[in-house]
Symmetry: C2
Subunit: 198 residues, 2 copies
DNA sequence: CCGTGTCTAGAACGATGGTTCTAGACTCCG
DNA sequence: CGGAGTCTAGAACCATCGTTCTAGACACGG
């Protein structure tokens, strides 16, 4: 009973943040969307809106990391994984009427210089994605340093295409990004195989 | 006299939006930072905060497009241009204490589903960057379709690395992105030269 | 000197923001 | 029953939001 309401609050907040950002969303909106009174929100998140934001970032961060890992595991190869990831994001984006698929980047840009707790939460979420992608790429045989570089670019491109595709209401940037990231990965693997580890 | 105040308002608003986003910035803050009364703001922007936001996006959009073009012209080759662009962005970011270098992406994510005028302004700004980059790449001999794809990825990566670098307070993502985008460009040019246009 | 147009000053408006607080309702173990 | 703990209801708080409005300051051609 208790976790149910808490989860409803987080889910509703997540969607509202994705649609209108952190500062553009009021607690009364959240209360209405989650079918929970403002008193309930403060009961579960005594730190108020900021604490709720941190919880949303942490939840979403884990969710995306798991999503990436499951797509990476199911894909026939590393290169295909990235195409599949961007393609999936495109479908979600278009189906939702071009609501932002990810609240983390939005919140980060709004408050990175204003709220340390929120900035740190976002930074941790990104870091977990980067290390998941790095792990995935080193498993494919790419040397650590280069894998980290590619992982950075992957995460950055994800966030960047979300802005671009959403603003232009088109999935074309996502598709381009999938192809390009996948090309970078195959290129790195080819190089590795030409010069095998001594 | 008149254009002076108007410019001061736009410059101050630009910086405040970069630091705290659109909804996180109040007109009273803008008024104070620009040394202009709220009456002045409404005199120059009768459409209120939204119209001011559109003006900021348009101004910044042109500024970045010109910046890209001048860097592209000065660089010894297409590949070097992108490394230089990301490196320059990194310097600006670090020097400013990791304030967002670009208000457009922030505003876009906050209000793309809430304010059509702002969404359209952001979309136009991005489109102008994409077409500038596409022009630059086709001039280097890359076929149109592939040039457009690369231009999409370039712009998306710029916006994405801004979020990432700012949140993590590190210029590493920007450097990785410069290297990777530049590698994609040289790769495309190499392919073009191997299979010259019939 | 006058008056027209541009720009600024700042009070006033209703609405809503996040937060706090006190009661009340519910569950569940004894 | 009963009472401790968990959760909800909703009024009340002050601050601030974006916007509007009316006066006044200033410049300048006649």
């Amino acid at each position: 009973m208790m976790a149910e309401t808490r989860d409803r609050i987080i889910v509703a907040t997540n969607e509202l943040f994705r649609r209108q950002g952190y500062n553009g969303t009021s607690l009364s909106q959240i209360s209405e969307a989650a079918n929970a009174t403002i008193g309930s929100i403060y009961h579960f998140f005594p730190g108020g809106k900021e604490a709720l934001g941190v919880a949303v970032i942490e939840t979403t961060g884990e969710m995306f990391r798991e999503l990436f890992e499951s797509i990476a595991n199911e894909a026939p190869g590393p290169a295909e994984a990235y195409v599949a990831f961007f393609a999936g994001a495109g479908t979600v984006l278009a189906e939702s009427g071009y609501i932002d698929p990810c609240p983390i980047g939005t919140i980060a840009r709004e408050v990175a210089n204003v709220s340390e707790p929120l900035r740190v939460a976002a930074s941790n979420a990104f870091a977990s994605w980067i290390s998941a992608a790095t792990r995935h790429l080193t498993n494919a045989g790419i040397p650590t340093e280069q894998a980290e570089q590619l992982a950075h670019v992957f995460v950055a491109t994800v966030e960047g295409t979300f802005v671009l595709s959403r603003t232009q209401r088109s999935t074309a940037p996502l598709e381009s990004a999938g192809r390009c990231v996948s090309r970078l990965v195959t290129l790195a693997i080819d190089e590795t195989q030409r010069t095998p580890t001594p």
